[in-house]
């Protein structure tokens, strides 16, 4: 079955109340969405809650899927928007602007450790990044958005996106290459 037809089949079956079809959709995309949610939120617990909320939204909004993009792309966009809403809401609650977080931008180059960075170490270190630069780093360096897109998604200036990503890389370097 072609990908578009397979997507349409899953959507139709789910809308007809077939939970097994929705489980197929979930299993196909859960890891990618959970990974994004954990990294954006900076914690596995929050990531799990976000995963639940996102797939509930997917279930509720499946009727609005028109097939213009692949189902996976549609799910990812919905997940990204939900994660961004979460980040904005948390930022508003903390009454802190992204730009004011972690204003220490001083950077001292030092001799790096020669050992290559392990992926597991980087994964853990991303969770430790301050809010603001973590989201910019995840969107730019992990998810592959350019700075203009990151700026639009996080509602910040393009220059701020660049400085946040620089700050994140510098912090990660300090933790992982010392």
């Amino acid at each position: 079955m072609r990908a578009e037809a397979a997507d349409a089949d899953i959507v139709a079956r789910t809308q007809a109340g077939d939970t097994d079809a929705f489980e197929v959709l979930y299993r196909r995309h859960a890891a990618r969405i959970y990974t994004l949610a954990c990294r954006m939120a900076g914690s596995a617990d929050d990531g799990e809650d976000l995963l639940q909320e996102i797939f509930l939204q997917v279930y509720r909004k499946l009727g609005s899927f028109k097939g213009d993009a692949a189902l996976g792309t549609w799910v990812y966009r919905l997940a990204l928007n939900h994660c961004l809403d979460y980040v904005r809401s948390r930022r508003a609650k903390m009454n802190k602007l992204t730009e004011t977080l972690d204003t220490d931008t001083s950077f001292e180059p030092h001799a790096p450790r020669e050992t290559p960075i392990a992926r597991m170490d980087l994964e853990r270190a991303i969770e430790r990044l301050p809010e603001g630069c973590r989201e910019a780093f995840v969107l730019h360096d992990v998810e592959g958005f350019d700075h203009k897109e990151v700026a639009g998604l996080l509602d910040i200036a393009e220059g701020t996106s660049k400085s946040q990503v620089f700050k994140a890389r510098a912090k990660l370097r300090g933790w992982l290459k010392k």
């Binding site: 859960a30 509930l56 279930y59 992990v142 370097r173």
Partner: protein, 250 residues
């Protein structure tokens, strides 16, 4: 002069024009510190693009499935799969409600803990109000802890009833694994309670107790999910859950 942050970032991202790029190339030839910086940033970016996906906990689908079943969707023509008999529906709904109440309890506790911190800071400004305010905050946190504990205990009791009633579906090895993991968690709960009795305001002890409750909830939810998958005849789903339970116990 070293390039600024934005220039370094653009250089690594390959978005500079030819002239700007050549300028930085020239600088890097003579500046070892910036050269190392660029190398490290490139490595970080490269590793970041190759990070592995993370698998969600096995209970996530079961939680989601329960939540979906509780959704009121009159526009969706519901069908009842053969495996989902009225008895199963009843305990699934009960479990979901209990889990929900627990989550509410936990969030309440978290908010309470956050509220307590600024209250203590304000009190520090006034020596006279300090003791009274701190005491009130401590009492508030303790009250909220008790409330969260109640929620957990109710949820755990409900899930235990479900798990105990259905435990005949387990093979002896799986049953032993479940019992072993439960015993470890119960021990942690017991130790956390003892620590709290000795020092009721101890935040580590409070957190440890709530974490232990959460772990027990998680294990019982996994157990219910396992029963569910076994009744569905989904061997692959059951194996995934058993594997997750074993990993947590290791």
């Amino acid at each position: 002069m070293h390039p600024n942050d934005a220039a370094i970032t653009d250089y690594i991202d390959g978005t500079l024009d030819v002239r700007e790029r050549a300028e930085i190339d020239r600088h890097l030839e003579s500046c070892a510190a910036c050269r190392r910086l660029v190398e490290d940033f490139r490595e970080i970016k490269g590793v970041a693009r190759s990070l592995d996906l993370r698998e969600p906990p096995v209970r996530s689908w079961t939680r989601l499935e329960r939540a979906i079943k509780l959704e009121e969707r009159p526009s969706v023509a519901r069908r009842s799969p053969a495996w989902l008999q009225p008895r199963q529906l009843a305990w699934l709904a009960a479990a979901a409600a209990l889990v929900l109440s627990t989550v509410v309890g936990l969030k309440f506790m978290s908010n309470g803990a956050r509220r307590a911190a600024p209250a203590a800071n304000t009190a520090a400004q006034s020596a006279a109000a300090d003791a009274a305010s701190a005491n009130a905050s401590a009492q508030s946190v303790e009250a909220e802890l008790r409330q969260a504990e109640d929620h957990y205990e109710k949820a755990i009791k409900g899930l235990e009833q479900i798990a105990n009633a259905e435990q005949d579906v387990f093979d002896p090895k799986t049953a032993a694994t479940l019992q072993k993991n439960l015993a470890v968690i119960d021990q942690a709960i017991s130790e956390s309670r003892a620590a709290l009795r000795a020092e009721p305001a101890s935040e580590p002890a409070q957190e440890s107790l709530l974490e232990s409750f959460k772990a027990k909830m998680g294990l019982l939810q996994d157990t219910v999910a396992l029963i569910n998958e076994m009744r569905k005849g989904n061997d692959a789903g059951a194996a995934r859950i058993v594997s997750g339970i074993k990993q947590k116990g290791d």
